[in-house]
Symmetry: C2
Subunit: 319 residues, 2 copies
């Protein structure tokens, strides 16, 4: 049996695939846009991507990380906010289409597992990984075990309510963490800045071509890095909320390390630095206990497919 596994990361905008070895190295890599909301087209795209990886042994297993709430057995997507899966038997469909054994994971769980095995959290048995993108996902490893909870839905850190009655969230609640500390927050506050037509927002207005819908969190972070004062303020505000949420997670879980991954996790030193400062200034019982380390992702955008492959490898192979 081969010591490689195929990792697939199904996101809201793109699907990435890679052939990954047992050290977490990606040997071949491919990527295609996510084909809208059609489950059948998603299967086809995954199949195409695997074919593009070249000659891969027939017995090489597949790990799939996807943005959704998986049941504990890794067979069914209960619900996906960005894709049209509702109680979708995704594993069975993939195994039928691909003719390979498939393990299904939540994409944030996969990314966190990769950081734990090969990335920023190597050597630390108690990790919280915060997947910072448009929203906030997450994963937790305690005593070396990926914890998925009773029903497979642990780690939905972005939906801890931090502001009762606050901004409406897609999850049904108001005031969720991801409404204040993620790309969504930077977009909302960036658009609010443009809406008042003040001089301070002119760099952001130029960057998005005066189209608020073209504005993105990454854009705000990039302008902050380039020294724009208004965007720096937005990033600092999001970073403070990020740090407050980290302090809440540390009160509950007391991890040794908190890794900030996801699309936005590596995009702004200011965001990360502000988050760590606020975390240290906000940890309950500070002064009487050690601080968890706060670090950015080491594996970047490939973390999801690397972790998905490794979870499949460990599940299906002797090691």
């Amino acid at each position: 049996m081969s010591d490689y596994a195929i990792g697939i990361d199904i996101g809201g905008s793109k699907i990435a695939a890679g052939l990954v070895d047992s050290k977490g190295q990606v040997l071949v890599r491919g990527q295609l846009p996510t084909p809208g909301f059609d489950p059948a087209a998603v299967l086809e795209t995954v199949s195409t991507l695997i074919a593009q990886l070249g000659a891969v042994g027939k017995n090489t297993v597949v790990g799939v990380g996807a943005a959704g709430w998986m049941d504990l057995s890794g067979s069914t997507v209960a619900f996906s906010p960005h894709l049209s899966w509702r109680e979708e038997p995704l594993r069975a469909n993939l195994e039928l289409t691909l003719g390979r054994r498939v393990l299904l994971s939540n994409d944030a769980d996969a990314a966190g597992w990769a950081e734990y095995c090969f990335g920023a959290a190597r050597g630390e048995e108690n990790m919280v990984c915060v997947n910072l993108g448009t929203g906030i996902g997450g994963s937790l490893v305690l005593e070396g075990k990926l914890q998925r909870g009773r029903f497979g839905m642990a780690g939905e850190f972005g939906h801890q309510v931090m502001v009762p009655g606050g901004h409406r969230c897609a999850c049904g609640n108001r005031g969720c963490w991801e409404q204040y500390a993620s790309g969504r927050a930077l977009e909302r506050e960036g658009r609010a800045l443009l809406a008042v037509h003040g001089a301070v927002g002119h760099q952001l207005r130029e960057a998005c071509g005066n189209d608020p819908h073209a504005l993105s969190g990454e854009m705000v972070c990039a302008l902050a890095t380039a020294g724009d004062a208004a965007c720096s303020e937005l990033v600092i505000e999001a970073g403070q909320w990020l740090g407050l949420g980290l302090a809440n997670l540390a009160a509950v879980l007391d991890p040794g390390i908190m890794v900030i991954g996801g699309g936005l996790g590596a995009s702004s030193p200011l965001l990360l630095q502000t988050a760590e400062q606020t975390f240290r200034a906000s940890l309950s019982g500070r002064g009487y206990r050690p601080f968890a380390r706060v670090l950015g992702t080491e594996l970047g955008p490939d973390a999801g497919l690397i972790g998905a492959a490794e979870l499949a490898r460990r599940t299906f192979m002797d090691h």
Copy 2:
């Protein structure tokens, strides 16, 4: 080697001791007031209580649960909010005084472990236990393991910030959960009710002899149970906050059961019922996932000493 263990629960107001068998039954029990803030007097009181348990085998080990932040090895109390321990080598001191092997645990961890082994959470591998008293402590068991985090301080649920800039907390922060959902919240709001000298607070005023300092959370709960409208409102408000915090914990941990223990946990059906309703109305992704069960303690005030004994028994004995 005996199949019994001695369990000790050191609280802010009383110290309880019991001889506990391997099924969690308390065979003999004793209790004395906590002697102020003097560590030496605490040791003496524990010694007296063990002597009062009668003829206990020389090799019977001792488990101690105490309100404080223990280091991971169970030797040192890093910090205790209610007792005068600061980096106190409590285990060594106890072993010297008692001539027995001693295991030290956080009191909420001990109580949660008892509910997991013998109480409300029997048969459920993923449990959150909320210790509701003057403040809020807690413990978590994931996949059958008591999780204490990297530094032994996991489960400090009461110090998740739920209201940024809210009521000041003894932990150094503002807006902690325990300021809204615990006995402390009922006391504060009860006193505020008395302070406005309105007719609605008259039953509470009578119950505490017109002395706001004599007012307690248990008193408010008892009056609510007896039908007093004003106290019922206070209990409902605290119960709603309790439910919101449970929803946050479920977003992070996705447990199968949430046990409400502690002095206040069993004292008001209205509090528990309101908390469960609010939890179900506030869980992120409700409708697409199962709900954790929300249950009151089964072991009541003995949970702490039972769990401390069981942790010692498992640590020191073959089983």
